[in-house]
Point group: C2
Chain length 373, copies 2
């Protein structure tokens, strides 16, 4: 089976590396002019005029990022199966649609309002109670197009700074940690859940994912399973879906979802029986889903901006290196290291050993370091 | 780093899939006209006239099979590093050289003699005591160019059947099982050993490898480590080396070696901390070696001739599928399934579950099935 991937970055690369052992071949469709996948055939098409050439080479289409024109996905869907369904793209590109869907499915979210003017933003901030965060309703990701309002007085400045004509305004959530759940749904409707991961961000970029998340109650795990199952079924979704959540004193609160394999699931490459990449390919290709159980305890450490001392990391007997073959650039994801251990205490120390060879890695500040395990 | 691979079959494919995460790229040099690697760039050159084109595209060269002209490896070594060293090829292409090297290093072998005529073959059979096996000294592999002599009277017929002008004659070894050890040596001389695997052949083709080999004494494991270490050091070898051995009442007896990643090491993909493929790439590229420890118990099941019921295998939560994207043909290696378990008893049953979906799979006849574990 010939699989077409919209986008040609590291996620597409890892999808291909997981798909070759299932006898799939890969063609990437790149609209950025700067593909990095480095495996399989790449069609570069910045103007979107060579879509037919791409389609002639593939049997089924999936994507590695959600910020692509929905019209393209819909046009593809007229001639080839597209998984996940284009509606998932639509929802993920529009915060109002996403939060509305969450609400309709009973998935808790922060309180939110929409604002179409600086004045409406001020009113929203007053009603919700500051601090609030204002986000462009569309076209925003990786923390771009956002502003925090400490007081309703900040509305004018925030409105101008963001420079969009429609904002979502969310009440701040007091959370103890950020977690994410990744699940996969097959063409037959079968669903499998990975253990929840605890995520550590630094300057808006994911730095660490620990899985299974330490000390997570069975009750919360089941809640999260229920939330993501509801999304998968509602969207008649095929493939891997990621849902980011905050853990709060009142339970889980959904932040956002990503209709693709996700950085917080990279630990599954050595840390689960079947990786998220293989499971996405299995789903898209119509195969049975693979076992999502964890193999021991894992922490994924992102390599950001600089490669650091790669050979020192390769010396560590518990570390698995995954490079994306990209040039160094500040803030750029260049690879990740999966660290394995049999206990969380061991995991914590091993992660610190890895991080010392990665310049600019923040301290591991997570539930493991904030309390005795 | 750009790695060149002589040969473009499934071993090269799996080397590449293990090497991309280390940011290596791959170019294959195929002299068969029928490459199957399916990843990376392939230069097809049946006449051997485009070697320079290949060399211009690579920084270092390795190989995936040992039956290639030594002259080509030597010619390459004049301009690029070649790992393993071409002398390893030379030794593996000549049974007399191989067994002589084993003997020089104190590695036990079956008793053997050379024969240059039907008459000499008869004499060798008489001296060694039948049964013996006669094998062409060069150009023989996968059980081709061999004949068994039950009595010295069979010499004339065997000589004619093999049709070579120089044969190695080996006394039959009474063995309890076949095992293999795989080790890797880095550019700095560092050596790492995988646990020994027990191998089950059927009609001359490897069908199952169980690792770590059940009930193997620590003493024999250390012997095998010593044998392969001696070979690695004597050859100043860089990369993965496999050594096939018979376990007998008197200890281990060496059969033959392969200067490459080996089918009996495919279990390492999910069954060891670092796969043989990654470790070969690490060695060839001058990186530190990876951890060779087992992750639980594994059995590799080869997919031979027909793919069988792939979707049924994908349903099994303990099975990992690796396909080579090759067309079905009797006796052809099409892929393998790595089965994981926590106990040998569990492993045995799981392997049988997998084998039922692979037509023509022989019964699992090994130390696990011949005795209670």
């Amino acid at each position: 089976m010939r699989i077409g991937v919209l986008g040609a970055g590291q996620l597409g690369r890892m999808l291909a590396l997981a798909g070759y052992p299932l006898a799939k071949t890969f063609t990437f469709y790149d609209m950025s002019g700067n593909p990095s996948a480095g495996v399989g055939e790449v069609i570069i098409d910045k103007e979107g005029s060579n879509l037919d050439e791409f389609l002639a080479r593939v049997d089924v289409v999936t994507y590695e990022f959600e910020h692509l024109p929905v019209a393209i996905a819909e046009r593809i869907a007229e001639s080839k199966p597209v998984h996940p369904v284009p509606r998932a793209l639509q929802v993920c590109q529009n915060r109002e649609a996403e939060k509305t869907l969450f609400g309709n499915l009973g998935i808790p979210t922060p309180q939110w309002r929409m604002a179409d003017s600086a004045d409406a933003l001020r009113q929203a901030a007053e009603r919700l109670g500051c601090p609030v965060v204002a986000k462009s309703n569309t076209e925003g990701y990786d923390g771009k197009g956002q502003a925090v309002l400490r007081s309703p007085e900040d509305a004018e400045q925030a409105w101008n700074a963001i420079g969009h004509d429609r904002l979502m305004v969310e009440k701040f959530v007091e959370f103890t940690r950020e977690v994410s759940i990744i699940a996969v749904r097959g063409t037959d409707g079968d669903v499998a859940f990975y253990p929840i991961a605890e995520n550590v961000h630094h300057e808006g970029i994911l730095r660490y994912s620990i899985a299974p998340a330490p000390s997570l109650s069975r009750e919360l795990e089941e809640k999260a399973d229920g939330y993501i199952r509801a999304l998968l079924n509602e969207l008649d979704y095929v493939g891997v879906l990621a849902l980011e959540l905050f853990e709060t004193a009142d339970g889980l609160v959904a932040n956002e979802m990503a209709p693709r394999v996700h950085n917080s699931g990279h630990w599954t490459m050595e840390g689960a029986m079947t990786s998220q990449f293989e499971n996405h390919i299995r789903a898209v290709a119509g195969h049975p889903l693979g076992n999502t159980a964890a193999r021991g305890l894992s922490c994924m450490v992102n390599i950001i901006g600089e490669h650091g001392e790669i050979n020192r990391i390769l010396e560590l007997p518990y570390a698995h290196l995954h490079l994306y073959a990209k040039e160094e650039r500040p803030g750029r994801k260049l690879g990740h290291v999966n660290v394995l251990a049999d206990s969380y205490e061991e995991l914590k120390w091993r992660v610190r050993n890895v991080a010392q060879f990665l310049p600019g890695s923040p301290e591991l500040d997570c539930s493991l370091t904030r309390s005795a395990v």
